[in-house]
Symmetry: C2
Subunit: 354 residues, 2 copies
Amino acid sequence: MGDMGDITEQELGEIYDFAVQLGKDAGRLLMDFARARWEDQGSGEQLFSEKDNAVDIVTKADEGMYTLLNFCGVWIADYAMKDVEAFVKNSIEKKYPSHKFIGEETYSKGVSRDYLIGDEPTWCVDPLDGTVNYTHLFPMFCVSIAFVVSGKAIIGVIYAPFMNQIFSACKGRGAWLNETQQLPLIRKPIPPMPAPAPGGCIFSCEWGKDRRDIPDGNMHRKVESFVNMAAEAGGRDGKGGMVHGVRSLGSATLDLAYVAMGAFDIWWEGGCWEWDVSAGIAILQEAGGLVTTANPPEDHQNAEITDVQLGSRLYLAIRPAGPSETESGRQTQERVVREVWKRVRELEYNRPGA
Amino acid sequence: MGDMGDITEQELGEIYDFAVQLGKDAGRLLMDFARARWEDQGSGEQLFSEKDNAVDIVTKADEGMYTLLNFCGVWIADYAMKDVEAFVKNSIEKKYPSHKFIGEETYSKGVSRDYLIGDEPTWCVDPLDGTVNYTHLFPMFCVSIAFVVSGKAIIGVIYAPFMNQIFSACKGRGAWLNETQQLPLIRKPIPPMPAPAPGGCIFSCEWGKDRRDIPDGNMHRKVESFVNMAAEAGGRDGKGGMVHGVRSLGSATLDLAYVAMGAFDIWWEGGCWEWDVSAGIAILQEAGGLVTTANPPEDHQNAEITDVQLGSRLYLAIRPAGPSETESGRQTQERVVREVWKRVRELEYNRPGA
C-alpha cells in the first residue's frame, strides 16, 4: 500500500472535484451568514431560533470582554461554524461513508486533544478559519478542506468567499488559484529565495491568542522573533533580518495559501491545529513549497530539515523556489529555514492530554 | 467661500463620477502590469523598453539587499507607478485643467518635502499604495485618488484590483464598497465602540520602513505600543489592551478603507504622507469614522480631539460608531482615542525641509 492507499488516480480526481465543489458551497454558506449581519436591519438574529445557545458562547468567551458588537459577531460565527461543518460533514458521509472525518467544531467540543489522523482516508476540515476576522467582517476568512491519506494531505481546498479566491491542489495535479492560475503566481522560471534572505522576503506571522504577559512567555518570544526578523541587517546583535515586509492577516490557512502563491516568502507560527493547516500544506507542497517545524532544533545549522507533521502545532513555511546559479531550489529554501531558525525563539505549544 | 469653494453640488457629482471611473481605469492598468509578471514567460521584461531606468531603481533601493526577485518586482512596480500616475494626471488635466495635482511619484522625485495642499481644488493621488505587496503580488495593493478643497478631502476613491474591491465616498453622498454596499458594513444600527475597548477591537498597525535598531527609536516605540495594545488586560503595568486581533496589511490606504468598512476598529500609524491617506480619510469621515493624531498630546485624557491635518504624517483612526446607552457615537470613539493614547508611544516623523 503506497501513499495513496487503495485509491486509484481516477478516484482521486473524483474526490478532488468533489472537494472543490464542497469548498465553494461551504464558502457560500459562510458568506450568507456574514451577509445576514449587514443586510438585515434586525442584525440577523431572526435567522436563528435557538437563542439559548448564545449563552454557551458567552461562557466560552475566554477574553472576558463581551461587547454588543462581538456578541452578535461571535454568536453568528458560532452558528456559521456549526452549520458549515455539519453541511461539509454530511456531504462527505453521504458521498464517502467509509472515510473518516475530523472537523474543528466537533473536535473542540470533545475532551481529548490527541492527534487523531491515522493512515486511513480522512477529511480534515476547518469550517471557518479566521474567526476573529469573520466576526468583524474583515475579508480574510475562509473554509479549509483537506483530504489526508497515510498521514499526508494530498488534496487541499481553501475558499475565501468575501474575496472570491479559491486555492486548490491535488497531489500530482498542480496547485491553483481560482482553478485557472497555477501557483506559485510569480514569474517563470520561479526565482530562488533571495540571496540576502530573510532580507528581501515578506514575513508573515500572527500575534495569536496567547497574550499572557509572562516574562519569556510565548507572546514575548514571538515578539522578540518578529523584531529580529524586522530589524535592520546588523542590528539586534547580528540577528536583524531586515525583511521586506511583516504581515499579519489573522488566518493561518490564508497565510499558507499566500505562501503557496509566492506572495509571502516565509510564514512562522505556533499554536495552530491540523485543521488550520492541512489544506494549506497540501497546496503549498504541491506548489513546490517547504514546510517544517517552527522551533529551531538543537544543531539548527546542520540538522536535517524534514517535512512537518500535520499535528505538530509548530510550522515554518517557505514559498516555492527555483534554483540559483549555485544552489537547487530546495537548497535555497533550506538556507532560508536556517536563517529563520537563527532569529526565532522556541515556542511552547503542545497537545494537552497527549 | 465655503468648504466647497465655487463648486456646485452638480459639479461635485460629476467630479465624483469621474474620480470613480478614473480609479477603476487606473487599477486595471496596475493589474495589467502585475499580470505581465506571471503570465509572460519572459518575466514581462519585453513590455518595457527603457531598461536603463532599472539602474535608477537599484540606486534608489535603500535596503541594500537587491535580489533577482525584487529586482524584477520593484522594477515593474516603478514602471507601473510612473505609468499609472501619468495616466491619472493626464486624465485630470484634460478634464479639469484648472485643478492642482499632487502625486506620490512626481512629489517624491522633487527636493522639497513641504506640504503643498492649499485651499484651491487639488487632486492628491497615490498611483500605487502597498508597493511592497505589489512587488510580491500579495493582493493588498491599490490606487488611491482624493479630491481636496479648502484643505479637506471631500472625494475619495480606493481601488484594489486584485481583490476587485472599490471603496468610494463623496461628501454628503455616503461611503460605499463596490458602489452598492454602504459603509460601514456592520449591522444596523451601527454599534458603539466596545465598552472594554481596546478590548474587543481589531487593531491595525504597520511595521513600516524605519527598522533602525536604535534604543527608543521609532521601531522600538512602535513595537512597545503594539505589545501594550495586544497584552492581556492587567498586563504591562496596566497598559495591556487585550485587543481582539492585531493585523498588518502593508497598505496604509487599505488600512483606512477597512476602518471605514468597520472591519478594523483602530488604526494607528506614523510616517505616511498625504497621498497615502487623503482618499482613505475622505471615505472614513463620510462613513462616520474619526481620524486624529497618532501621538498622545500632553494632557491626553482631557485634550481636545481634533480632526487630523492631511499632512501631519501621524494618524489614529477609529471606525464609525453609534451611540451606547450612556454615550453618543462620537463619545465612544473619543473614549477609544484616549485609551489608545494611554498605550502608545510618541513617534518621530516630521517633514524634512518643512
